[in-house]
Amino acid sequence: MDLSTRGPGHPYEIAAMSIGADETTAARPGRWVTVWRQPNFLLGAILTALLVVIAAVSLVWTPYAVDAIAVVDRLQSPSAAHWLGTDLFGRDVLSRLMVGARNSIVVGVVAVGIGLVFGVFLGAVAAARGGWIDEIIMRGSDVVFAFPAIISALLITALIGPGAVNAIIAIGIFNVPVFARVTRGAARQVWAFEYTRAGLAIGKGPFAVTRDHVLPNVASVLIVQATIAFAIAILAEATLAYLGLGTQPPAPSWGRMLFEAQTLMTIEPRLAIFPGVAIVLAVLGLNLLGDGLRDALDPRLRDWRAE
């Protein structure tokens, strides 16, 4: 990502770097040191790492088979055999939470991936071409953006039917205008600098300039946005599953676990508490991580905060 590793360094590029406008060349190592000292970022990183590790472990091992129904063992309190107890059908809650974490990560990665690929492409095109292409892309994304995440996901699953894959698509589609806007906004700032003009002047096309100068410079903004979008995607998937539109039974999902616990609240509140806490921790972790990354990668915001 560091531009200094790309090519010999054209004189104009060097000039641009020297005025500090080219974000990618800023003194990053120092920032990272600062950021690791922040307890929020540290906590966010630890929670996110935990989420990933649990999901990875669930690929090879869970205490019990995730859909093994044993009605005689239903609604057991936490014990040595079942650390977080069992649910209505006697399934191990811990096993289901672990696989639910994996489910959340898959949803997050794919939905953010869809947003990144299409959104960044559209945003970069809009910024590079300007004019009516910009207008069309941005007004189109305004329309999609006008609906809150959950509403658009509801609309899309109503059209294409419920299911885990469709939920991912729905959340991904919501992410497209988000990333398109962020990319366009940041990219237009980069396009305002002389070094991009210089790139054009020496005969690079808009595509090459976007690839060589614009995208590396907006990458930090996108990373921050991706972290936040990841958290939103996990929350949206849980909401859709809770409403019966996301992951379908018997596959475990945190949102579905909440739904199943709903009528059991008076007799077994822990069935709602555990998946609820899992969602809170995952979303909190990703948000703290995103905040920390923003501090590290966005110098203006950091300076502003420092004041």
Partner: protein, 491 residues
């Protein structure tokens, strides 16, 4: 237990905070507020299959020639007495004198002719037209006499005429009953606040109940809270079995676990290979552990059944041991039928018995090598895809119509069972009116469909009634879809 106390405390706080006027009303002891789960689509029982319609108007607003009481027995209603000709083909009913509809018009024999002709006519939108299939003609020799002539003997005619679908309506009000029901029952319709409540009031100023309100509360947790807060006096049928547990320890409430006519079955598409192979269906029957389903999905509320027949009926035969739970045998049968690694769909409508029961059934089927993919559907989709569209392998549904084993003799009914032996048995049954012979034939019918493993027979749906102490006369069982409040009083 602490949780229960906490919950009760919270409910008490809610009660103090918001329910003072309602409590005051309840203390006057001549009004009753019932909580119901589903809002009816409209209020005309002769123009819709929805149980939610009958649950408001049956016996309360509309009356039929006969009525079904809470034990499932036929009682006189508009007809005070009747006689049957020796060949069982002519029924003569004597009507109650001086009956008026709520709009003031008189109810006489011509209204009965109108109602029954309308229900069985070619333009009829009645959801239960087969009830009237045996009727050849309906006549009114005088204003208080109705004569029904049958084309063939129909042993269950008096029962059929007691259904909500067979109530007597007036020609003046028949077309507007959907929004403004006009019947001849002891309660008249006052108003319907959509999504919230339906209000009835008594015609007789001396009646024990002057005002009856049905509050529509779909969410089980909200039902529990409303009952504890005193917003409602009774829930005739709680939507979530776990909610019952919150009331069983509470001395202020009466919990009445009764029976319904709901045979809850794993309905199977009998015409779709390999489900058309009786060995595959028997394998499914052996794979099912009824106790696990009743405990896991219904908190133990429900009676296992081995055929399509209600255990509380006198002609019931216990056939639960026909195909006992035996996964090894199920696997062997599937192997014999060449249906190993079978992949099926399992469509589940919204009720808890289906959604929860379906997850357990799917796990039990997986255990014998059948991969049943769960597809949750809404009722509209279920009716369209499963009931009318024949697009399913398996589904779970509770058949709540009373004594409906006859559906196994219908042509092209949605599970596509076609058995000449069953059809012949039901035909003989229809032509028989001797109770002992009828019971014997009903037993034969139960055995035929059990042996053919037409559907997976799971359990008889329980009726989970909860009401405030002091409410007397609500039905414990529900032999027909009804919340009959005509005999309810406070003590």
């Amino acid at each position: 237990m602490n949780k229960l106390i906490l919950g009760a405390a919270a409910a008490a706080v809610i009660a103090l905070a918001q329910a003072v006027p309602d409590t005051a009303l309840a203390q006057s002891k001549n009004s009753l507020t019932l909580g119901v789960t589903l809002e009816p689509p409209h209020l005309d029982p002769t123009a819709g299959a929805a149980a939610a319609i009958d649950e408001i108007v049956y016996a309360n607003v509309f009356e039929g020639l006969t009525r079904i009481d809470q034990n499932g027995a036929v009682q006189p209603q508009l007809a005070t007495e009747w006689s049957v000709s020796a060949d069982g083909l002519v029924y003569t009913f004597k009507l109650r004198p001086n009956v008026r509809f709520h709009d003031g018009t008189a109810l006489d024999a011509s209204d009965v002719v109108f109602s029954l002709d309308r229900a069985r006519g070619p333009d009829s939108v009645n959801a239960q037209k087969p009830l009237f299939a045996a009727i050849d003609k309906v006549e009114a020799p005088d204003p208080r006499t109705v004569r029904i002539t049958l084309s063939r003997p129909e042993g269950s005619l008096l029962f059929n005429l007691g259904w909500g679908d067979a109530v007597i309506v007036g020609p003046e009000s028949a077309d507007t009953n959907k929004s403004k029901p006009v019947g001849s029952g002891p309660f008249k319709f006052d108003r319907w606040v959509k999504g919230d409540r339906i209000e009835l009031s008594a015609l007789d100023s001396g009646a024990a109940l002057q005002k009856v309100t049905f509050r529509i509360i779909p969410d089980p947790s909200a039902q529990v809270a409303a009952l504890k807060a005193g917003d409602i006096d009774a829930i005739p049928n709680l939507n979530a079995p776990e909610a019952v547990l919150a009331f069983q320890a509470d001395a202020n409430f009466v919990v009445a676990i009764g029976s319904t006519e709901g045979e809850t079955i794993l309905s199977t598409n009998n015409s779709k290979p390999p489900l058309n192979d009786v060995r595959v269906r028997r394998a499914i029957a052996h794979a099912i552990d009824r106790k696990a389903i009743i405990d896991g999905a219904m908190f133990g509320f429900g009676t296992p059944i081995g055929s399509h027949f209600a255990p509380h009926h006198p002609a019931y035969v216990d056939l639960t041991a026909t195909y006992p739970y035996d996964p090894a045998k199920a696997r062997a049968l599937l192997k014999e039928a060449g249906a190993e690694n079978l992949k099926l769909t399992l469509k589940l409508p919204p009720p808890i018995y289906a959604r929860r029961g379906g997850e357990i059934v799917a796990a039990q089927l997986k255990d014998v090598g059948i991969d049943a993919e769960i597809i949750p559907v809404e009722w509209a989709q279920w009716l369209e895809q499963v009931f009318r569209g024949n697009d399913f392998d398996l589904t779970i549904v509770s058949h709540t119509e009373p004594q409906d084993i006859g559906i196994y003799a219908r042509d092209k009914f949605y599970f596509n069972y076609d058995s000449p032996r069953m059809k012949a048995t039901m035909k003989t049954l229809n032509e028989t009116s001797d109770p002992a012979k009828r019971a014997q034939l009903l037993g034969t019918a139960q055995r035929i469909i059990a042996e053919d493993a037409v559907n997976g027979y799971l359990f008889q749906l329980a009726k989970l009634g909860v009401w405030r102490k002091g409410v007397k006369g609500l039905w414990r069982n529900s032999p027909v879809q009804a919340n009959d409040v005509t005999g309810v009083r406070w003590e």
